[in-house]
Symmetry: C2
Subunit: 416 residues, 2 copies
């Protein structure tokens, strides 16, 4: 226990303002058991878990430190600070540890200093890895990434309930923006309005992305040509942002009649995301070019055809291929997902505590869907220098198909 | 150039909605020259720059890829996507490259495949480092971190102008919140109000933090005991957040008369941050306990004494020691910065494109201040289970002292 901050010794779970949101202990134990089963199968002695999303998943608390998950036995949490608070949030034993050498001693005491240790090499900085590898010269280090992402991909009922609340946040925000936006507002005005709605509905603000360099701020609210401008982020639509250091999403450009305003918004509740895209006809539906409305209708059709084939046992790569085939058949291939046909990297992605989770609906992702997975499907078309259209809904994979998250009309929203 | 997305071939700088905010080319060339001087001094052949803040600093564009800075010669940008957009934002030559093997071939062509290559090991993931190290078995890899952080620590006039605008954002938001907040509002209400003000003033939303696991969403808006609750983040004040996965900052607790509401807000304009803390007497100044008001006044006094001694040539560690000495003399040591006296890790930190930049006002940071550095000074006192008080201003180091960013009264704000 933390002996340096007297306050912390007094923290009981029921004293936390967040008491009613704590992750249930049986939920934490289920998660640890699922990870441990994978560790055993992969002949890994112990996982050192240390990136926020993974740590929060296993421990139920975001902490500065390490969560040690042995292949068998109890999970142990080592926290550099606020140990008493972490103890109030988790079911696992928490010890205060500051230095890597203490971690190394702990691993020795657990009998794994010469074992196979797993670290999420896709996110842990090189310097941390090198320090640990040099302090444990007899250990073998392997990658935890695929194992923990696979476990996290299948959600419990408790997790799905949080996803559903996140989806309701977005549904409400979409309609508020569509109701209030008028020509003359800037993209930033519309974005700010959506952000205020989401925060008011209990959105946590922070959105986590796993990929190195991945950054996300609520989503993308861009109109006309700016929605078609590509950005660094590996997403179909980009946007200029306000200035280059925030080079994604809304600009200060004014919305005009005839514009399609794309709202790609992420809800987030108790860590869990939703992801939804709708377009708003800023000056009324009759001001929008007919070919854009037809392209929008095509995206809706693709979303409905692809989602209708999704069920346990189907490969995510097959869903991607179906969308690509539809694009090729319709003559939309050159504009599909913002890149050339041989480059369309995905048509959907898993969501959970991070925006880029398993399963990816992309080439090469052949491990079949399972009930409890949650993915966002987002067929989009980009018309460079002119506009972007598209739709996105999140889906829960059920025993027999998928459930849209949330169910709401897929029509073009009309401003005012 | 990117040949896969026809749109991009047409992008000229003047077509970007962000044209007027592009980093001036002479500013980019100055930055590269400063980094190259350090590379030469450290006998490094080439730096591979690849985390968003560093990339944006050197290239003037956030991109997915690598920025290659040779010790002498021209900087080269390799972008995995949106290459034409990146070209419109930067002065350096941009090539589209997707795979690490292309990067390796490029390094070979540049004659550095057997040289000393620098990577920011504190942020680059272990997997990326291992892949590169294995593809370049004859290269020697060294850490870029200290070099690029040292260069970034000294700001140009162009950068300082952006810092000043960010500071104005916060000044305005503070006063709006203080004016509007009343007992019965929640911490989230106050936070959301501040966020809307900041966004309306052109805040980019995203706030970058370098430290692994560091996450920041505008700042901390917490009252009474919740402001004193420690969080994972290495900061004096924490807060519960709305629920454990966002375990920092505002909760749904209602503000009451007698509470001190701490507003620790970060402005951000064109990438550059400001950082400022004030406290609001929610029910009027006469409702606040006198010992808390005295503690608050003490923090203001420390800020003024410490900032008055800051100037070029003074070690940041000396400023930290002065603050610690004042805490010990006054009997506040046990509550200073939220941790016990032997643990008070810092009393300030540099700010720039990231919230945790050089110089750190902490033990061990002995490299003297230079004109053009920007740091936030934040003496704070934590009374566990009861309240937190404190103040924070950012300062530009001038030739003769410091300039507060922005100049504004350091009194307790009164709600309503």
């Amino acid at each position: 226990m933390d002996t340096t901050a007297p306050a912390e010794q007094q923290i009981r779970p029921e004293d936390l303002p967040t008491f009613r949101y704590l992750v249930p202990h049986d939920e934490l134990r289920r998660r640890a058991a699922a990870l441990q089963a994978r560790l055993v199968a992969a002949d890994i002695d112990l996982a050192i878990v240390q990136t926020n999303a993974d740590v929060g998943y296993v421990a139920g608390s975001i902490l500065d430190g390490w969560v040690l998950v042995p292949a068998t036995g109890e999970v142990k949490v080592l926290a550099r600070r606020a140990a008493a608070r972490v103890q109030a949030e988790t079911c696992w034993q928490v010890e205060r540890m500051v230095a890597v050498k203490q971690l190394v001693a702990e691993l020795g005491a657990m009998g794994v200093a010469r074992g196979r240790l797993a670290l999420a090499l896709d996110v842990v900085p090189a310097a941390d890895y090198l320090k640990l590898a040099s302090a444990l010269p007899d250990a073998e280090f392997v990658d935890l990434t695929h194992h923990i992402r696979s476990v996290r991909a299948v959600k419990s009922d408790w997790e799905l309930d949080n996803h559903r609340i996140a989806a309701e946040q977005v549904k409400e925000a979409m309609h508020t923006v569509a109701y209030q936006v008028v020509p003359g507002h800037t993209e930033l005005d519309a974005a700010r309005l959506s952000e205020g709605c989401l925060r008011g509905a209990g959105h946590q603000g922070l959105i986590r992305m796993r990929r190195f360099g991945g950054e996300m701020f609520f989503g993308m609210v861009c109109a006309a040509a700016n929605a078609a401008l590509p950005a660094a982020l590996d997403a179909p639509l980009g946007g200029s942002g306000l200035y280059p250091p925030a080079g994604k999403g809304p600009s200060l450009q004014e919305l005009r009649a005839g514009d399609l305003l794309v709202l790609d918004l992420m809800g987030c509740y108790n860590g869990y995301l939703s992801d939804c895209t709708r377009v708003v006809a800023v000056g009324g539906i009759e001001t929008v070019d007919e070919d854009l409305l037809a392209a929008q209708a095509w995206c809706v059709d693709v979303l409905e055809q692809v989602s209708a084939t999704a069920r346990p046992g189907v490969a995510p790569s097959a869903l991607y291929q179906l969308a690509l085939d539809l694009a090729e058949q319709s003559g939309h291939a050159a504009n599909f997902m913002g890149v050339a046909p041989d480059q369309a990297r995905f048509v959907g992605h898993g969501i959970g505590l991070e925006v880029d989770e398993y399963p990816f609906l992309a080439r090469g992702f052949d491990e079949p869907l399972q009930a409890g997975m949650v993915f966002a499907l987002e067929p989009k078309l980009v018309f460079p220098g002119r506009a972007a259209v598209g739709i996105e809904d999140a889906f829960i994979v059920t025993e027999t198909g998928v459930e849209a998250l949330p169910a709401q009309p897929r029509t073009v929203l009309v401003a005012g």
